[in-house]
Amino acid sequence: MTLHAWMVFALTLFCIGLYGVIARRNLIAILIGIELMLNAASINVLAINYFVSPEPAVGQIIVLFIIGLAAAEAAIALSIILGVYRQRASIDVTLLEELRG
């Protein structure tokens, strides 16, 4: 496995996540897509770290931070989703288009 192969793999994962974010209308599904994209980023970081960096610990620490942030983000996002559901009885994103001036 080369660095390029790992990066293409990460890109593929990212694009799948992107597709999910754009195509799905369920808020939880969108959140799943975002998690996929975050993981793609993590893979990328670790791969570059593995193949290039002379200081391997740094890449791992960055990924740890990403995981931590993802956890925080997920917690907030899920609570927002719950809040939206309470408000609207739905978590369909197409029904939330009310940002009219």
């Binding site: 974010v21 754009i22 288009e97 009310e98 009219r100 001036g101």
Partner: protein
Amino acid sequence: MNHELLALACVTAPLLGFAVALIGFRRRHSSAAAIVIASGLVSLVASVLLLITARPEAQAFTARWFMIEDFSIEFGVLLDGRTLIMGSVVALITLCIQVYSLYYMASDPGKGRFFAFLALFEWSMLLFVYSANLLQMFIFWELVGLASFLLIGFWYEKPSAVAAAKKAFLMTRVGDVGLFIGLILLFQTSGTLDVLGIANIFEPHGLPESIAPQRIELIAMLLFVGVIGKSAQFPLHTWLPDAMEGPTPVSALLHSATMVAAGVFLVTRFHGLFLDAPTTMTTILWIATFTALLSSTMAMVAKDMKRVLAFSSISQLGFMLMGLGAGSLFAGYFHLTTHAFFKALLFLCAGAYIHSSGTNDLIAIGRAGAARRMKITTIGLVVGGAALAGIPMFAGFFSKEHILSALHGPGQMIFKIGAFGAAFMTAYYTFRMVFLIMRPNPNSQATPDEPAYPHDDAHGPAEPLAMILPIIVLSLGALVIGFFGDKIGAILHVEHIHHPTIGEMAPAVVVALLGVVLAWIDFGRANAKQRGFVSLVPAAEKLFEKRWYIDEIYNTAIVRPVIMIAKLCYGTETRGLDKGIDSLAYSTAKVGREVARGHVGRLQLYIGVAVVVVASLVFYVGMR
């Protein structure tokens, strides 16, 4: 006596009077009046003393007002023949009118204010006359205009008075613009603001070679524009008849010694300059002659006593300018002096009649029997009328003779004929007025414009001392001032005064007597129809009554277009500029709203678009 102190007293007394009257005595009218009269008396005494003890050569007392870089602006008093005589005349006539107003304005709620303004008027006129400096001259020229604005609009609750004051201010301002530019050019040309210095450039030895003749013509023409405005010459004469809206003492002051006299005085002041501008002199002659004729025709049909006098003022001012335009400083100046006396006198008489009979209308005054009740006033009226008409031995006769005899140059025949015509009409309308008042004829065809009010005894005596005294003084003045021609000429340093011979005098006397006789036939004799000969041509009568429709012409030719332009500008402002900018702003807001309509929170669409755009950019950058 110290001349400097006298001059100082003369010019500061009215200012103090004004300030004290206006500030300290707003509610104590009699004190205000007393102070103003006292200040007027101080001015009169001081100026007469100056006149008597005057030295032959001109002297100027100036103090530095301020410096601009190394250029000093002086403020001061110039004492020479022209200023001394005029100053005394102004002080005398103002004092007479102030005393007269004491009774005339006795019951007016604004008496204190009136006296304050009178003092302001006197102060600005005196300092204008005495001014030693172009700038000072312009300042007080403007202040004279301001004071007359305030006094013409004195009864400010009367819309017509307000309109008249506004008209006077605006029309004189038109002239002021010309004067202002002229003074700037004069300053530029001569390099000095000193009046004596400027006079020295032009007076003794003709035009200096360093100055182009065209430039002097231009300056003289522009100065004359100012004179046209101030001295009510055609085409800016229409404000003067309307200025009758002010109290009668104001009219008396305005028409004799101040305001309108300022214009003529300006020409006498710079007469040397005008002499160097022959084209302008001819223009002055044309305008003056035309004005004299034009206003005389209007005076012949006017029914309002003050209006008759106003038109006569315009025509007499025309006479003065004719004299000056013909090149005779003495003739114009002399007439200015005599006119001040008899015109003030006539106005004061008119004021007395109006005050006692409650109407301005000549016929109504006559029928109210004013002439019989007010003997002294009537004598004053006759004296003044005779002086105005140019009856021999009265003041106006002498000065008018000088003007007529000054018109002897080549090509001035036409002006002389015009002057004779105006003199004839003057005699006619003056005695028309006199006869209408003295010999009222209940069976005549003349009808008053408004019913006469019966005399109200509540007004007090018909001829109180405060009113009679000035009339007597001025009558004496109008009787004797004519004999002082030589003296005035000497003070003015006029080398040789051309004394008209009997033969030269005869035509003018004949013309004047003809006018009187015609007036007698039309108005004076028993059973006269009291309809002027002008009424034989109804069209002419109508034309004269409507004042040649000049006001109407101005209305359509100037006022309306100005209003149109103002409307246009207003339209441009509100509908053009403002609306345009508003719509720019509103359309920006609208674009924002329209765009916002698309932005309703379709997050996924935005993300997709963003992704595609970023990717396209990457491709684009990669391709290069």
